[in-house]
Every structure is written in C-alpha cells, then in structure tokens.
C-alpha cells in the first residue's frame, strides 16, 4: 500500500541538484515555476525565492530536498519549492516530473542561463499504484 505522502510529484537529477546548490550560494533561496507556451516555455523557471509571486492560480507540486556539501563548512540542507499554474496542472497531473539540466542558452529570467546551461523537465507517467495514492 502506497500512501500519497510517499509519492512525490517532482524529483531532481544529481546534476541539477549540484547546480541548484551552486546557484543558491549566489542567489540565496530558490524556487521553480513551470512555464508553458512560447519560445522558452514548457521549461522550469528558477528564480530567487519570492521573486515570482504565486497565488491561488498556482499549485505547489512539492519541495525538492537538497544538500549543499560543496561550500565552506558542513553540508547545508535546503529545499526548493516547485510550482505550476493550476490550469496547466489539469493537463500535467498524471505525470511525474524530474528536473534535469542540459547545456544551452535558455531565455526568460531563469537564473541558471548565464552558466551556459538550462533546466529541463523530464516526464514519466505515474504508475497505477502511484496514481491511486495521489487521488
């Protein structure tokens, strides 16, 4: 029996987690908002926490639990919340999302673009068991 508390909607690859730790040292706490639409859309946008104002029009998909062991001193645990517009979630809710990173230029105001990389969403369908637990 899988409990919904055990089923996450979002995950992160090691490469993306390592990048997030570096970006956090530079920009402070971070957040994601999944974009839709034109050009650089359909990509996750990473902002300094609070820079993008979320509202009832958004869904909080979950928090990425991460650790920064690359900085000075002991490893620091931190979280990065992931959001999406509620309307878009209607069409995405059956898929699990993993935030990855690839070389690229990006656009929009996402903070990783100057590093020559771009966050990217990789998706898979929830298993029947996961889907049942999330209902």
């Amino acid at each position: 029996m899988t409990d919904s508390a055990d089923v996450s909607r979002v995950a992160v690859t090691d490469a993306a987690a390592e990048l997030l730790a570096r970006l956090r040292r530079r920009h402070g706490e971070l957040m994601f908002h999944q974009s839709g639409g034109c050009c650089d859309g359909s990509s996750p946008m990473c902002y300094p926490a609070g820079d993008f104002i979320t509202s009832d029009a958004d869904v909080h998909l979950g928090d990425l639990s991460l650790s920064d062991d690359g900085g000075p001193g002991p490893a620091v645990a931190f979280t990065v919340p992931v959001w999406m517009s509620r309307a878009q979630f209607e069409y995405w809710s059956h898929t699990h999302l993993t935030i990855d990173v690839v070389p690229g230029r990006g656009a929009g105001f996402s903070v990783e673009a100057p590093e020559g990389v771009r966050f990217l969403i990789r998706s898979r369908l929830f298993t029947d068991e996961e889907a049942a637990a999330l209902r």
Partner: protein, 507 residues
Amino acid sequence: MTVYTPPGQSGSIVEYRSRYDHWIGGEYVPPANGEYFENPSPVTGQTFCEVARGTADDIEKALDAAHGAAPAWGRTSATERANILNAIADRIEANLEKIAVAESWENGKAVRETLGADIPLAVDHFRYFAGAIRAQEGSVSEIDENTIAYHFHEPLGVVGQIIPWNFPILMATWKLAPALAAGNAVVLKPAEQTPASILYLMDIIGDLLPPGVVNVVNGFGAEAGKPLASSPRIRKIAFTGETTTGRLIMQYASANIIPVTLELGGKSPNVFFSDVAAERDDFYDKALEGFTMFAFNQGEVCTCPSRALIQSDIYDQFLGDALKRTEAAVQGNPLDTETMVGAQASNDQLEKILSYIDIGKAEGAKVLTGGERADLGGDLSGGYYVTPTIFEGKNSMRIFQEEIFGPVVSVTDFADYDDAIKIANDTLYGLGAGVWTRNGTTAYKAGRAIEAGRIWTNCYHAYPAAAAFGGYKGSGVGRENHKMMLDHYQQTKNLLVSYSGVRDGFF
C-alpha cells in the same frame, strides 16, 4: 538553387563582427563589467561571434540615452517619423539578401524563409506604420455649444521591449515600428540565442535614427532583462515569450503601474472539415500544405499549427496524403534555398523537443513519421536538427496541450462540427487557429466559435501588416501587426475647453 557561403568564410555576402558591444546612444558601448558571451550558430553548433553580457548598469546607460533622446523625438512631426521609417524600410530592402543570410545563420532557420517572409515582412511593416502614423488623427467631442473636448495622441516616452529568438528581426520590427511611429524612444533586449542579427541590422539602419532613439542591450534575462522589465524608468514594457516570464513581467509592471503587452504562445488547432477532400484539386493541395505548416520555421512559431484535427470520414485518407507531404519536406543546410526545414535555434531547444517526443510515446501516442534527431553529416553534424514529426493521439495528452516549439504536430480526429469546436477550444491558449472547408457558412461559424485571436481561414501562417495579431486566454494581451498597436504606445491627452464666459454657479 543557391547555397550561400557561411558568414566568416571567404566569399560570404555577410560579415559579422567578431565582437558586438551594446548599441547605446547611436554608438557601440562596451559592457560595464567587460564580460562577453559566445554566440553559436545552430547550423553547425560553432561559435561565430561574441556579444556583450549586459547588466543593470548597461540598462541604466541605455535608459539615460533613451531619456535624453525621447523629448525631442516625441516632438517630431508624424511626417518626419514616417519618412524615417520609410527610409529604414528602403535600406533594409536594399540589403535584403545580406540580412536574410545573417539571420538564417544566427537562428538556424531556412534562408528561403528569411528571403521570402521574415525580411520582406519587416520592410512592409515599417512602411505600414509610416502610413498609419501619417493617417492617424485625434478627435473632437462637442460636449455642448461652448464646451469642446480635444483628444491628442502623445508618446509614452521611453519604453522597454524584450524580443524572442524565433524571428529575431521581424519580432523586433513588430515592436519597434509602432513604438517609433508613435514617437517613443526604446531600450530593446534581444533574446540571448539571437543577440547579433539585430545588431547586424543596426549597422545598416542605425544612422537613420537620432542617437538614443533605439538602444540595444544584450545579455541574459536574469541579468539584463529583469532590470529592464522592472525599471521605474520605462513607461511600458512589451514582451514576447512564455507564460511564466509573462506573469513575472506583469508583476514587475504592477509595481511601476505601467502597461504591458504580452504575446505568450499557443497550441493552435488546425481544423480540416470533410469537404476539404471533396475533390483532388488545388484547394486540396493547399490544405495539405496547410497541414505541413507545422514544420514552418522548424515549428518555432507561437502559432505553430501543432494540433491537427481531421474529421473522421476523411481521416485516414487525408492523413495519409499529409504524411507523404510532410515526408517530402526537404531538411538540410539552412543556407541552401532548396531547404524547407532548417535547424532548431539552440541545444536546449533540441533537448526539450526530444523530451516531449519521449513523453508523447510514453502516453501512448503513435509516431507516424520522424520522432528523432537528424544527423545531416559533415559540418552540420554539430547542428540542432529534428525530423518533422507526426504524432497520432488524444487531445488530453501532454503533447496536445503544451507548446513543444519544434516541428511536431499531434493529430486526432473529430466526429462533427460541435466535436471539432470542443476539441479546438480545449486548451489553455488562444493565439491562432486554422479552419479548412469549402463551405463558407462552416468557415464563418467555426472561425467565430474558436477562442483565438487569429483564425486563418483556408490559409495558414500569413502575417501581413494590417491584420491584427494577438491572443485570447493564456496567449497574452494586446494586438500587434495593426494600427491599433499605436494605442498601446500612446497616451491620450484630453483638453476640455470652455468657450463660455458664464460662471457655473456652484460658488
């Protein structure tokens, strides 16, 4: 047939500078922090120039120049501004081939498109707004015998514009032409994927404008775009891009209480009713081309007809013919005039398209053709090419709901008119749509029922000036490509004048 020599090689008609600074106050100005970023061509993946990496200091410098130029520019007569816009159009036209090749090299799009669409449309757009501003008039309301309300158009002053990478010169023109016609000074930030072609253009037309009227600052969104969009020194911000950045820009604008215009993409339905296949004639052939338009500009168009809805009784046959037409599209060197499908604009764009092809397959959609990265061999092996891809599936799938921004169409069938409209409108977006039918009544009713700003009826992907373009629903705010865009760049000044010598009697 012509194959253009790549810029940078001997014999090319285009010479890019090896390094571009910011264009501020009518001259090149090095970036405040001295940093530059590399600019690769998607044709080969190889860097061909470097570009100033702008920051807030550079934006401030550009805003200084714009504020210096705006008052005098705003007082010029409509005739003077129209003459300058016409001169810009003439200069672009005289250099059309060079500009077309330069843009193809930077963006990866087929040169047949830049020669035949992007740059000629840019020329026409400047001329359209030259005419529109000459013909614009204020208005007079006669309140009563002795009281008159006069309405004057005034420029906003200094405006910010953030340009996308899919049509670097045409999208800049869509924003620049109305803003300049209306008498505004501009600080423009190109996309970081295509920072150089607009500066290539400024090298050709820059001397026609007073210094400071147009300023171009390159850089990354987080470093240069944000300080521009959030600046209290602009009176309006215009943006073309995606929804999250669009919302963020609106949030910044709310802090400064300034207007925004946004063009945020779509998931446009292309609807083919049964009677399209009533005959095998020119119209049927045109409809098949209309289907294949999903691969136009490698699918990197906000209005890409990325959902094809085909009525059930012609589904198999029409889709079979459409498949053949799609497979006949020539993919290759973007600088070859025979090439119809070029390179995607960047590596991350390529990766995103491939990730969507993955989720499409995982959701059970069937790949009828394409579905993979194309290796074109030789120098082009390092470029970013995707084979035109046709998916068959259901409208609830993510590939039917998200803008992939690649040469990928998702096809499904519909039973009747009501079903077609229901599926067409089952989307977050409402930018464009296509309706194909031989029946005028069906065409009219479907066009009015689909919730989108532009309904191409028995045509697709035409962008003439004088046809208003903009979105319903999540696709944005404002209408470009039409004289109504002047309103988005102008204030209304009302003088309410009494010609009576008699007191009101309140005091």
